[in-house]
């Protein structure tokens, strides 16, 4: 049976992981390759590396890092941040990334999704959507939730799917960082409406939250950062917990 995926997300600034970690057994927790390797050994199913600097000069640093990740890690990984055009996608795939995630650039220029799918296949294109609940419903936001757009979550997710995105990475800005669980109702709506996998993001604080994202939110994968980085939820323990609940999980 196809397993539900657990995906740690690493934020990268100038080639280093930010937000620190408390892994005592790592020589250099700031090195994304070391941390990625550790997660992979612990049973992470995929990894996401987000370049949060992505200024023009720093893109080369990130590309070099992607090459090192590809050489050292034996599970699939997605990279995002600073992807504006097809050239950026090509550069990162060439460096060894398996998938790229596009967010703001796709909202500003939706054709980018068609171009990625056409040139490299849908499977490499992850459409990342940040959304918040407003009076009119779930609205898409840019720049980490600071800039509202005229796009609504469900219609935009549909459009991404039609244009050829291979997966939707949905982050609820209302739930992100609050550690009270994922936006399960919206997740379920997305998952039941769309024909591509949905990755839940934003809100993980306890093992039960992952269970709910899968059972109530019908998510195909769940992504989290701090609960993994700070060792609050060790991945082996999380996966055993989900497995005991008969959720299909790779152990």
């Amino acid at each position: 049976m196809l397993a539900k995926r657990i995906i740690p997300c690493l934020d990268i600034c100038k080639g280093r992981t930010v937000k620190g970690t408390n892994f005592v057994n790592l020589r250099d927790a700031g090195d994304p390759v070391e941390l990625g390797k550790l997660y992979s050994e612990q049973g992470a199913d995929e990894l996401v590396f987000l370049d949060i600097t992505a200024s023009f000069e720093e893109r080369k640093t990130f590309t070099d890092l992607v090459e090192r990740i590809a050489a050292n890690i034996s599970i699939p990984f997605t990279v995002g941040g600073g992807i504006h055009e097809l050239k950026d996608v090509e550069r990162l795939l060439k460096a060894g990334a398996d998938k790229v995630s596009v967010n703001s650039a796709a909202i500003k220029n939706p054709k980018l999704i068609d171009e990625i799918a056409l040139n490299f296949g849908s499977q490499v294109c992850v459409a990342a959507i940040d959304a918040k609940q407003t009076d009119e419903g779930w609205r898409c936001f840019l720049n980490g939730g600071r800039v509202p757009t005229d796009r609504m979550l469900f219609e935009w997710a549909h459009e991404c799917c039609e244009r050829g995105a291979g997966e939707i990475l949905f982050t609820s800005m209302d739930h992100d960082g609050v550690k009270q669980g994922f936006a399960n109702e919206a997740l379920r709506h997305l998952s039941d409406e769309l024909s591509i996998p949905i990755i839940a993001s934003g809100g993980a604080g306890a093992k039960e939250h992952f269970r709910d994202a899968f059972l109530e939110g019908h998510a195909d994968a769940a992504l989290a950062a701090s609960v993994f980085h700070f060792g609050e939820i060790p991945i082996p323990e999380l996966k055993q917990y989900l497995c005991d609940l008969k959720i299909p999980i790779r152990l």
Binding site: M1, L2, A3, R5, S40, D45, A70, A71, N72, S74, I75, P76, L93, K94, G96, D98, F120, G121, S122, Q123, G166, E167, D192, S195, I196, P197, D220, A221, R250
Partner: protein, 196 residues
């Protein structure tokens, strides 16, 4: 050991080179007939579209070269599909090493999303590249077309229906999944292939 990887217009070839590198093996990426024939093992990886890839292989005479190889050959993902008789993807005439067609997944329920992407279990015959495998193991898949279960099925996976996760016939081995992206299980499989 002298390992050659077939160089052609497919994506993701470097991830195979990287995976071999992690096993301490340096592979030669080539489309040269002598080099391919002279290698101890040949790997035929690939991510791409069947019909355009077959056109490329034919134009470069690689279809004949691959078909005639005598040493152990491992096809991966699109590589496995191209080793079959034909593919529904672009109605491609393929290499015909395995006399079985490649079909498109036809989802029956909403949960059956296509492509089949992620970690799924394989049930193997415990032979060849799966020597020592005695229980189902998780490996990583990304594909929209599949090879039905047939006489040459070496491993099976159930998604929408049971299909061939791996094929084996004489010196030809193939996997629908990506051993190069399947963590330690994938490494074991690649090692077994290198040890054949």
């Amino acid at each position: 050991m002298n390992i050659a990887i077939v160089k052609y217009n497919a994506g993701n070839i470097h991830s195979v080179i990287n995976a071999l590198g992690r096993l301490g093996v340096k592979a030669l990426l080539t489309d040269n007939e002598e080099e391919l024939r002279g290698a101890d093992k040949v790997i035929f990886p690939g991510v791409g579209e069947a019909s355009t890839t077959m056109e490329y292989l034919r134009a470069h005479n690689l279809d004949r070269i691959i078909r005639d190889l005598k040493q152990p050959v491992l096809g991966i993902c699109l590589g496995q599909q191209l080793m079959c008789s034909r593919s529904e993807e672009g109605n491609a005439e393929c290499l015909g090493i395995f006399d079985v067609p490649v079909l498109k997944f036809n989802p029956q329920r909403h949960e059956d999303k296509v492509p089949h992407m992620g970690w799924n279990t394989i049930e193997t015959d415990g032979k060849g590249i799966f020597k020592g495998f005695d229980k189902p193991e998780y490996v990583y898949f990304v594909h929209s077309f599949y090879v039905p279960v047939c006489d040459w099925t070496a491993a099976k996976t159930d998604y929408i229906l049971p299909f061939s996760a791996s094929l084996h016939k004489d010196n030809f081995y193939a996997t629908q999944f990506h051993p190069e992206k399947s963590g330690s299980t994938g490494e074991r499989i690649l090692k077994k292939f290198l040890d054949i």
